[in-house]
Structure formats: C-alpha cells, structure tokens
C-alpha cells in the first residue's frame, strides 16, 4: 500500500509539470504586452525595458517556464501585475473560502443525491424513481449560474432570507453552496442510482436477505458499501468540476474565492495571478484525485489487495 501511494505520488510529478506547462503556455500567447498595464501612461522606453526584465518577460517560453517552475518550487508564483503583491499570498488568502464553498457544496450534493439515488434505485420504475430522475435531469440541464440567479432572486431579493453576496457568517455560504451543489447532486444522483441498481441485482444481496438481514441493512450496509465505490470515483472527478463551477457561483454571489480571483485577474489581464492560481488549483485537483484513488483502494478490498501484492 505504501508503495502504491509512493508510486502514485511519483507519477504526480510529470502530471503537475505538464499541467503547469499547458497553462503557462496558454497564458503566454495572450495578446498584448503586459508591461503596459504595469507601466503608467508616461513610461519611457528604458523604464519599459527595465520592467520587462523585472517581470520575467524576457527569454524564450521554455526558459521562462523553467524559471517559473524553479520559483514555484520555492513557493514563489511571482508578483501580481496589478496589486504588486505576491501571487502565492493572494492565492492562499482566497483558498480557504473556495475550500469552504467546495466542501459545503459537496456536502449539499451528497446529502441530496445519495438518499435520492438510493430511493430511486430501491423503488426502480416507481413514481419516486421517475421523480428523482426528472429532478436529476433538470439539475443536469440547468446552467448553475442561472440557478444561482434564481435562488438569489427568490431567497435574497424577494424573501430577504439569505444574503446575496459576500463571505461573512454561515448564511452567506448557503446559496452559493446550493448553486454549486445542485448540479453535482444531479450527476451524483444518477451515478448513485445506476450504481445501486447494479449492486441491487447482485446475488450477494440475496444471500444477505436469505440469512434474515433486514431490508434496511441490506440496502444501507450491504448494497451501499459496494455502490459507494463508483460514487467515490465520480466524487473525485467532480471535485475539479466543483472548483470550476464555483467560479460561476463566486461571480454571482461575490464570493471571494479562487475562482473569482482568476476571473478578476483575467479581466485585469493580470497574467501572473491567472497563471499562478490556475496552476495551484489544478495541482490541488490532481492531489485530491490521488487522495480519492487511495480512499477508493481502502473502500474496495479487491483493489487494496491488488496493490498490496
């Protein structure tokens, strides 16, 4: 098991380097010379040249990339063109908010989807199943920022129950978390249902029933534990979507998270911030996926055994 984890960690390194390179390369072809955003209206040619040097804009793409990675390893993501602040610091300021939003959104999604998926699967083809599936389909088809707007319209503008923006107090997280959570819940409901249906067909549940295990325990202990395996996988994959989806929710609800940082930085053409935040976020996603794989191995003894050998 340890070897498995170590192997996965080693495999992570080229992926992280690749992720950094792709984002770095994409951001490097951005039009316009960023030096003009930093320089004031009256900058002279010499000042511009000096600034270019200072901003690390000289040299070829590969050169700049390796310089960037070198700095990254030291925890230095460069300095924002706009605020002149350390990008790592900006990122870390926002990260807790994003993690808070993402984790609560995940909780919302799980709380909505797993019971719904189970109910749908256990009552396959009944009205409960149909209703759950229609809800899931609607959730899947609804752009989450639109849902966010509707929720905001209803719960904060019309009813005034919840704040429409900001990140203060617990209530402020509810609407963005529901917004992000619903789309994910839709997907997870479908996964839970099909995974449960798959498991509910299995002979070992009949074995369990035949030995007198109560139906409740059959579903929630015997079936669910097996059904969880694909759900966990989707969960890991979806974490990246939650972070992506939270960009929209953060925009709608003025939630000061990483997504908002990226979007604002793009608007301000603050390339170091965009690059740094994207690279850090992607690395985070990659690491979370690794963690999910490891958890996966723990939940499913078959996989664990495979790697222990």
């Amino acid at each position: 098991m340890h070897r498995y984890i170590i192997k996965r960690l080693l495999m992570l390194i080229p992926v992280l380097l690749g992720v950094a390179f792709i984002i770095f390369a994409i951001m490097s072809v951005a039009e316009g010379d960023p030096v003009y955003q930093v320089a004031g209206p009256d900058a002279t040619e010499e000042q511009l040249e000096a600034l270019r040097e200072e901003m690390g804009l000289n040299g070829s793409l590969i050169e700049r990339y390796f310089r960037y990675i070198g700095n990254l390893l030291k925890g230095d993501l460069g300095v924002s063109y706009v605020t002149k602040l350390d990008v790592m610091q900006l990122y870390l300021q926002r990260l807790p908010n994003t993690l808070r939003l993402a984790s609560i959104a995940m909780l919302v999604a799980v709380a909505l989807s797993v019971p719904l998926g189970i109910v749908a699967a256990v009552n396959q083809n009944s009205w409960k199943d149909t209703l759950a599936m229609i809800l899931a389909l609607l959730g899947l088809s609804m752009p989450n920022f639109w849902l966010g707007l509707l929720l905001m319209l209803l719960f904060s503008l019309k009813l005034g129950w919840l704040p429409s923006g900001g990140a203060e107090g617990f209530t402020s997280v509810i609407l963005p978390a529901v917004t992000v959570g619903v789309g994910l819940a839709a997907l997870l409901t479908r996964t839970t249902r099909s995974s449960m249906l798959d498991v509910l067909r299995q002979d070992y549940l009949r074995t369990a029933r035949a030995k007198g295990v109560s139906e409740r325990k059959v579903v929630y202990v015997h079936a669910l534990r097996n059904a969880l395996i694909p759900i966990i996988t989707i969960f890991g994959v979806q974490f990246s979507n939650v972070l992506g989806g939270s960009v929209l929710a953060e925009t709608v609800f003025a939630w000061p998270g990483v997504g908002r940082l990226v979007v604002d930085a793009i608007d301000q053409r603050d390339i170091p911030t965009v690059t740094g935040a994207l690279i850090m976020t992607t690395m985070l996603v990659t690491i979370v996926n690794l963690l999910v794989d490891i958890i996966y191995a723990y939940v499913d003894p078959r996989i664990k055994a495979q790697y222990t050998k």
Binding site: V19, I26, F145, W146, L150, S240, V262, I266, D267
Partner: protein, 295 residues
C-alpha cells in the same frame, strides 16, 4: 416443431442490435420528447432568419421601448435597449447550437483520432497521449476554457475552440477504450493479414465499431458544451455583443434581475430546455446503443 422454430427466430430478431436499438429508442418516451423538442429548437434556429431580420429585430434597438414586461406584442418582453427578447432567444439558438456542435465536433475529431491512434499504435505513443489526456482532464474544464479564451481573445471561434479543447479528453478515452476492445478481434487480424494499411484498418474497421459509444458521448457533450459556452459568455468571455447569445443575455439581464426578472428568466429557460432535450435524447441513445451502460 415449426412453431417453435419460428418463435425462436422471432426471439432472436428481437435481440438483433440495430433493430433493437431503434425499438428501444422509440419506446423511450424521454428520448422521443427530447427529439421532438430538439427538432423544434433546430427548426426555430433555421427559420429564425426568415421570420426575423437580424439588423432590425434582433440587434436593432428601440430605446424608447426598453424594459417592457412580457405582453402580447413582446411575449418575452424587451431588454434594456428595447430589443424583443423572444426574437433574440430564437436567434440565439443559432449561436448556442453552433457553438455546442462545433465545439463537440472539434473535440470529437481530435479526441477520436488521438484516442484511436493511441489505442491502435500502443506503446510509448499511447503512453504519451494518455498522460497528456490525464493532464488535460485534471484541469477543471471551466478554468481551462477561461484560460484559452482569455489568452486567444474573445470571439465566437475562440469560444468554440476553448470549449472544444476543454472537452477533448473524454473522447480520447472513449475512442481508445473502444479500439482496445476491437483491436484484437479476428476480423482485424484478417484485415491485417491481407495487407490493409493501418490507417485504413482504423478508419474502416475500428472507428465504425466504436461509433455508437462516440455518438452517445457526443450527444451528451453537446449539452454540456452549450452550458460551458453560456458560462463563458456569462463571465463576459463569450460571443461578443450584440450577438444574442443566451449566456450573454443572462449576463446582461442580471443587472436588472431585481425589477425585471423576466430578462434572466427566459434565456435561462431556453438554455435549460435545449440542454434538457439533448440530455433526454443522449440518455435514450445510450440506453439503446450501449447495452453495457443500460440501467
């Protein structure tokens, strides 16, 4: 005797794959609803230029008629520049569908070719392609698309490219997996034995065999591509104004959501219905074409 044989053959026919797929699809009410809705939407998109004049009805403004609530004259109301929202939504279908389709087409072509090649060639090439695929899929697709658009600049084409690139990885996976399954079948061996070139084997024998999975994947992806495009437009990174793209209409309506909620309501419903119909159809296709995934 004869009876029994007939019955057996009837049973067998029931299970023949294409016929069954169509039967399945036809019986799936959801898929039919999706298909009908989709036909309506596509027809609307195609007919829009006949019914509406782009310059006067869609982008032409009548500032004095701004912000009118839905009425008989403007069934979805007018926006902040006095443009009829219904005309813009109908016309907007052209953008959303075009962006969705082209983006998926980009992803499909690149993804299928790369995936099929990876699966067929194998070895180091496969490894490199799959690792790159891993890298791409670990970048959240919204962020990826944002990065691409913000780097290339805002335009309809760039939006398609961005959404396309961000949804390529799944196609690579599907194509590769399908090829791996088919690759070692005997008829491929046979084709190889009679000296058919590799590209021809892939194009003639392998790709058609994984087509059903790719079609399913593509149908489902068009929906999410439309949402991605709308998201980018919402963030101001999509189709430039004054084009009536649904996402940018939503974004514009957001400023007035408090008093003029219809401005955000209708474009949102348009996106939802379109994506819903694609999902319904995609689900139906998946159930019909891909028995493995059948619930």
């Amino acid at each position: 005797m004869a009876d029994n044989a007939e019955r057996v053959s009837k049973l067998y026919k029931k299970r023949s794959s294409l016929g069954m797929a169509w039967r399945q699809l036809r019986r799936n009410k959801g898929a039919i609803i999706g298909m009908i809705l989709l036909i309506f939407i596509i027809a609307g998109a195609l007919l829009a230029p006949i019914v509406y004049d782009y310059n006067t009805d869609v982008i032409g403004m009548n500032v004095r008629d701004r912000m009118q609530w839905p009425s008989a004259e403007h069934i979805c109301g007018t926006d902040d520049l006095g443009r009829d929202i219904f005309a813009r939504i109908v016309y907007g279908a052209r953008y959303s569908l075009a962006v969705g389709l082209v983006a998926v087409l980009i992803a499909l072509v690149i993804g299928t070719v790369l995936g099929a090649a990876a699966g067929y060639i194998g070895g180091a090439f496969e490894n490199v392609v799959m690792r790159i695929c891993d890298i791409f899929s670990s970048i959240p697709s919204v962020l990826m698309a944002i990065a691409v658009v913000s780097s290339l600049g805002k335009s309809t084409i760039n939006l398609m490219i961005a959404v396309g690139i961000a949804s390529t990885a799944p196609f690579v996976r599907v194509a590769r997996a399908a090829v791996l399954v088919v690759k070692d079948e005997e008829y491929i061996e046979a084709a190889r034995a009679i000296g058919q070139p590799d590209w021809k084997i892939v194009a003639v024998h392998i790709i058609p065999n994984c087509l059903s999975q790719i079609i399913v994947q593509a149908t489902l992806r068009v929906g999410s591509a439309i949402i991605s495009a709308a998201q980018l437009s919402f963030l101001g990174l999509g189709v430039p104004a004054p084009a009536p793209e649904w996402g940018s209409m939503l974004s514009a309506g957001r400023l007035f959501i408090r008093d003029y909620s219809y401005m955000t309501l209708f474009p949102g419903i348009a996106i939802m219905i379109t994506v819903l119909s694609l999902n319904l159809l995609g689900d139906g296709l998946r159930d019909a074409l891909d028995p493995k995934l059948k619930r």
